[in-house]
Symmetry: C2
Subunit: 281 residues, 2 copies
């Protein structure tokens, strides 16, 4: 590698690198840059499988909906992505995507992740917001950037500027509401695209930590992202900050759900997302 490397690849682009081995079949490689505790950051896995669809020669339109099911942790090393356009209509296209990985070299690949993706040709229609952007939120520059809130590598790939509802300062079991708001973007900056937006949808720490001020093991099991932005709006948003807002609806017997919204600095809603999260105790 050259020591003068004026434009090194962004770590997200490195993580999204996929080699196509046959139509709809891709091989990728986990990167340490987005490592979470026992596997890659879930948002990154979502981004990777969405990238596989977008690079497929039969892909039509833009992503509208993505559901990812985290069936097992992806281990360090190579993995396979299979992306299949199961139904193409006049203006919509439905995909199933599977990530597979052998648990030992030469072993039989097992499913680690399942997903469905809806692509659509969007047309300009009557449009309206029905979830107002939160009021009284200071500008990103007025919200100090924080260091990673816990020691995992992927948190260093995001610039986070909390507005309200960050991790409890003390794990004292005092109950709070589960609402968090923060300004965020890729670190280093990178123009927003659909995989990056999918990854950002998973950026919120588990709501149960905030709600209980008690640290319990927790992990996302399934996540759905609805993209309200088209490519033109992503281009307008560029590498600006997104305002993320997340809250839980219900914590019950080992699972809680989270709903979240992601706006750009101009106050336009780019994506809404929800996830169901396993927790222990």
């Amino acid at each position: 590698m050259s020591t003068t490397h004026p434009h090194p690849a962004h770590p997200l682009d490195e993580a999204l690198a996929l080699a196509s081995t046959a139509p709809g079949h891709y091989t990728g490689q986990t990167t340490d840059a987005y490592w979470n505790m026992v596997g890659p950051y879930g948002g990154l896995t979502a981004a990777v499988l969405l990238a596989a669809v977008l690079r497929h020669p039969e892909a039509q339109g833009e992503p509208v909906a993505l559901t990812v099911n985290f069936a097992a942790a992806v281990a360090r090393g190579p993995f396979t992505v299979q992306a299949v356009p199961v139904r193409t209509n006049r203006s919509t296209q439905h995909w199933t995507v599977t990530v597979l990985q052998a648990e030992e070299e030469g072993g039989e690949p097992r499913v680690t992740t399942t997903a469905t993706v809806l692509m659509a040709q969007r047309r300009t229609t009557w449009s309206a917001a029905d979830t107002p952007v939160p009021e009284g939120v200071p500008a990103p520059a007025d919200c100090p950037r924080i260091d990673p809130v816990f020691p995992v590598e992927w948190l260093k790939r995001y610039e986070m500027r909390p507005v309200r509802g960050m991790l409890p300062a003390q794990w004292d079991g005092s109950e709070h509401d589960s609402l968090s708001q923060l300004w965020m973007r890729d670190a280093p900056e990178r123009p927003l695209d659909f995989p990056a937006l999918a990854a950002l949808a998973d950026v919120f720490f588990p709501r149960i930590w905030r709600r209980r001020a008690h640290h319990v093991p927790a992990g996302t099991v399934s996540m759905t992202v609805y993209f309200h932005a088209g490519g033109d709006l992503l281009a307008q948003t560029g590498s600006g900050y997104l305002l993320g807002q997340a809250r839980a609806q219900e914590f019950r017997n080992g699972f809680f759900d989270q709903t979240a919204q992601l706006w750009n600095e101009a106050g336009t809603l780019l994506a809404t997302t929800q996830q169901i999260v396993y927790y222990k105790e």
Copy 2:
């Protein structure tokens, strides 16, 4: 069979009848009782494919998450459901489900519906609500039952008692918020189970009709349901009413999303759900 038939099958049970033709392969038949405009009511299709998973001999645990993608209308007649347990862990199980139908007799079956299902063995843990049940809602008996709001057969399969936010009385283009609340249950009454709850999650008319007071073609393309209730809570709920609340978040260029909550009469949240809906104009 006796000609005196004191307990005829409930129309939902008739619609959920599936013959197993091989492990994980089922054949069903559309029923007119749940017919929508150009195919079965989407909530019914969700119920049918969830029922296929629940009847699979390898099914473990209870449903926690369900995503259904409506890729094409199901036509009147027979259809096939394929349910595959792609990954079974210690306490969770991930399924992919596909509904297929030949477009002409003897033709090649095509995918009409894709789905993923998360099953889990739930354990009793710390639990808490973070979305309060709406205040000031009158009891079901104090909310008059309404006739179907538009002339489709499936609406007759639900008892609906609006609380607020029903269809505009006049299609005058005046804008409202998109919030609706109603008491609802199967008609005739039927003890709640997971397929019935999945079907109820799709009961809300398109939010855009309320938001715009303007009638445009609209149809759900993808729906996700998170089940917060276990079987014990469903049994407690029995054939009581559910309070449903739905609202949109964003309407943009041909698609809007909807988030909804379903509580039982005791005020316990049974399910949360979201969907993305195509609209024209």
